[in-house]
Symmetry: C2
Subunit: 122 residues, 2 copies
């Protein structure tokens, strides 16, 4: 069976909450996710997966312990596994994110308000 | 060391030839590639990797044996390993592509004009 295309804006239009990624596809054992973010996230790292962030709208600030990167639409960054990072955004930022299948959005950190043990597929 | 962001348009501006992807990043054993395409490619499949196509500009026609999908900017498709497909574009289409590291752009097919046994990193 041939696969179907996915429209990122359409998927992003299906929800409005922040820091709650949705799964919109799978690729080589990884999940293609979309997320809306605003404000500050928590410092965390992922021991079992690199993490790719591609900004679609707005601006993403990615803090590292030794530097900060600011991403605009059409820019991506791959955070290597084990690298501490803290995403943040002034205003709303919409992005595509990739992580290994089944991995949490807060990595090794458990946060009652932010950790999504499982993610919704939309 | 913290990673650096990649600007897709900047990378795409560094070359002009068609059907010759460049590697612009790595993620979980996969290559993030950018490509400019125009016209018809060849029917092929990849036995060892899924392939993700995200359209950035123009329009990508993805032929499958049983159906055709037309992708516009902001739309992606994941072609599962082993699935025959033939990309095509009327006019130029720019896209981000992901494949397992070291895999050829023509998969199992060898074509003197199209196959890139190794890809340039830019």
């Amino acid at each position: 069976m041939a696969p179907k295309k996915i429209n990122l804006a359409e998927k992003l239009g299906a929800f409005s909450d922040h820091w709650n990624p949705r799964i919109v596809g799978t690729y080589n054992g990884n999940e293609v996710r979309v997320a809306k973010v605003s404000g500050e996230f928590v410092w965390h790292s992922h021991t079992e997966t690199d993490e790719l962030f591609l900004v679609l709208s707005g601006e993403l600030t990615m803090h590292f312990r030794d530097r900060t990167e600011i991403l605009k639409p059409g820019e991506f960054i791959v955070v290597p596994r084990g690298t501490e990072h803290k995403p943040a955004a002034t205003g709303e930022c919409q992005m595509m994110v990739m992580d290994a299948e089944g991995t949490s959005n807060t990595g090794e950190v458990k946060d009652a308000n932010l950790t999504r043990a499982t993610l919704e597929k939309i």
